[in-house]
Amino acid sequence: MAAVGGGRTVSSAFAPIRLWLLLPSWLTIGFFLLIPVLLMLVYSFLTKEFRGGVIWEFSLAAYDQFLFDRGLFGDDPPTIQWTYITIFARSIIQATIATIMCLLIGFPTAWYIATRPASSRAVWLFLVTVPYWVNLLIRTVSMKFLIRENGPMNEALLGTGILDAPLQLINTDFAVQLGLFYSYLPFMVLPIYAAVERYNFALSEAAADLYASHWTIMRSIVLPVVKPGIIAGCILVFVPSLGAFLAPDLLGGAKNFMIGSLIEEQFKGQAGNWPFGAAASMILLSMVLVVLFFYARSQAREQV
């Protein structure tokens, strides 16, 4: 599909200069992006130092701790350690639900904006991004304030008599999902907007002309054609949601712990465990890479 940037051939006449123009990007990405990740990979195989930091000694302890429970003194027969796997599973579920919420709200939003007259689209896009000029922490705290038990939302609901008892939103899974949804909605709206804006509405007319109903046009013409935008949006929401720690911390409370918070804790203060945090990060990264790999492969197959 043309929307996903396929390989483009650039005239070989530009080859020498291209090398020099790309060099800064290669260096920056290589140095500041790849090396820190490699560093984490190395740290995850080192031995933990008790006051934070590491001892340069190879160890699988971090991964072992993540996966197995060997008892208090480390000599019991190992059993599967469910604590961290549960946190991971919960994170995946939370991120998935947040992504679906973003998609359900973001798609109609993007559709609406993309079908406005060209002159007003920029205004709508700007309005969608306005809240994101405010720091994420502030926004998450505001969300907490809004939905807490005696916050403005519950007061309004009680005051108008819609509810008799306050809604218990704070410290629930749903609060976390809501927080993630709010944090990353524009990442869903923008790529879908870009795809819908490029969509040729003559295709919808052609489908209607060929006896397709509104619903069928949406399902078998529009969605497949704008799919690259939808998938890009889902990835852009899902990946940061998976590793988020602000929304789970502030809105979810202690029992709705997610990977992000788990990792954050390992690097905070003296109680941390750097190799364990690094290992958890590596496991998270591998999971994301596996998902992206399968997606890329299915896209490549579709191109043929």
């Binding site: 043309a2 295709l203 052609a206 489908a207 002309d209 060929l210 006896y211 497949p224």
Partner: protein, 361 residues
């Protein structure tokens, strides 16, 4: 070829369309016969595409009725009208291959898999795309995409096929080939074609009848010969083919024949409407109906040759009349005789009988 079938394929009655303050179509009323190759011809913005889109159901009418073989359709949505459209830029579904594109309408109509396969194979045969069945539209040339669009629109056996400038995106050679192909397809299938174009050559070469449109109104409806030989007004004479348009005044009127005065010369012309002596109007003379001779003859006008332009099959000659008017003439290039057309030479122009036409508006 006018058709005598009692029920028209498409019957338009006082059809109008306003976009806000802008009137795109005004009081359009005519019938399109069954099996007819009917063309809507006009410059861009004349309302021809709007009219086609109203028949297809993409635009709502603001006035009037549209009947399709006797059934009133102007309030039906496009998916409930038994007509199909070939779009200007084809609008092929990019994520479907050729066979899926062609079979889409049949699938929507609820045909069985076996029937769809058979019909798609038949269509692919018809447009000669056998080796491309599994290609996506992006992997095909413009001409091939055009054939897929045609096959896709014809697969559901529409009662009327609507074609919205389908050849405009093709290059000249391919366009000429496709003209002949479209015409024979229409003959073979017997489906009524409504063809929209701004290209008068296309309209003349393919149509049974042409509706010439301008500024939201139908100017003239007739066979290609009708609109070319007997244009109803100045716009039609000017838009279809090349012509010399000269301001003229009617002299003596004798039935269909009128003596016209223009720029100090006078000539006998035909007319259709009622013309009174002294009425002002336009004289239209096709350049190829003028002959250049050396001797004074019956009805010939003395002139002097001005600029000449060599155009391959013929030569365009500007002839200056004694009265000051200038007429363009076209002479077919033969091996002998081209040397006569030297600039400044004195000649005599002869207008073929019935070739000059006096137009009131």
């Amino acid at each position: 070829m006018t058709n005598q079938t009692p029920i028209a394929a498409v019957a338009l009655r006082s059809v109008g369309k306003d976009f806000g303050d802008f009137t795109a179509l005004k009081d359009v009323t005519f019938d399109i016969g069954d099996n007819e190759f009917f063309t809507l011809l006009g410059p861009s913005g004349c309302g021809k595409t709007t009219l086609l889109r109203m028949i297809a159901g993409f635009e709502a009418t603001t006035a009037g009725t549209i009947h399709l073989f006797g059934d009133e359709i102007e309030t039906l949505p496009p998916d409930k009208r038994p007509v199909n459209t070939v779009f200007q830029n084809y609008a092929l579904f990019p994520h479907m291959n050729v066979a899926e594109n062609i079979g889409f309408g049949l699938k929507m109509l609820g045909w069985s898999k076996a029937d769809i396969d058979a019909r798609v194979a038949e269509m692919i045969q018809m447009v000669q795309l056998g080796q491309f069945v599994h290609r996506k539209p992006s992997q095909m040339s413009g001409g091939q995409q055009q054939r897929v669009a045609l096959a896709r629109a014809m697969a559901p056996k529409p009662k009327v096929l609507l074609l919205d400038e389908p050849l405009s995106a093709l290059d000249l050679k391919l366009r000429q080939e496709m003209r002949a192909e479209l015409k024979s397809l229409q003959r073979e299938t017997g489906i009524t074609f409504i063809f929209v174009t701004h290209d008068q050559e296309e309209a003349l070469s393919m149509s049974d009848r042409i509706a010439v449109m301008s500024a939201g109104e139908v100017q003239q409806i007739g066979t290609p010969e009708d609109v070319y030989e007997h244009p109803a007004n100045r716009f039609v004479a000017d838009f279809i083919g090349e012509t010399n348009l000269l301001e003229a005044e009617a002299g003596t009127v004798d039935g269909q024949s009128v003596m016209c005065q223009f720029g100090g010369s006078s000539i006998s012309a035909t007319t259709t409407g009622a013309v009174a002596p002294g009425q002002k109007g336009w004289l239209s003379i096709r350049p190829e109906r003028l002959t250049i001779g050396t001797a004074l003859g019956e009805g010939s006008i003395p002139a002097r040759i001005g600029q000449t332009v060599y155009l391959g099959t013929d030569t365009q000659v500007m002839a200056h009349l004694e009265g000051g008017a200038t007429l363009g003439a076209r002479m077919q290039n033969t091996l002998a005789g081209a040397d006569r057309l030297t600039e400044g030479a004195d000649i005599h122009l002869t207008v073929a009988p019935g070739a000059a036409r006096f137009l009131v508006e």
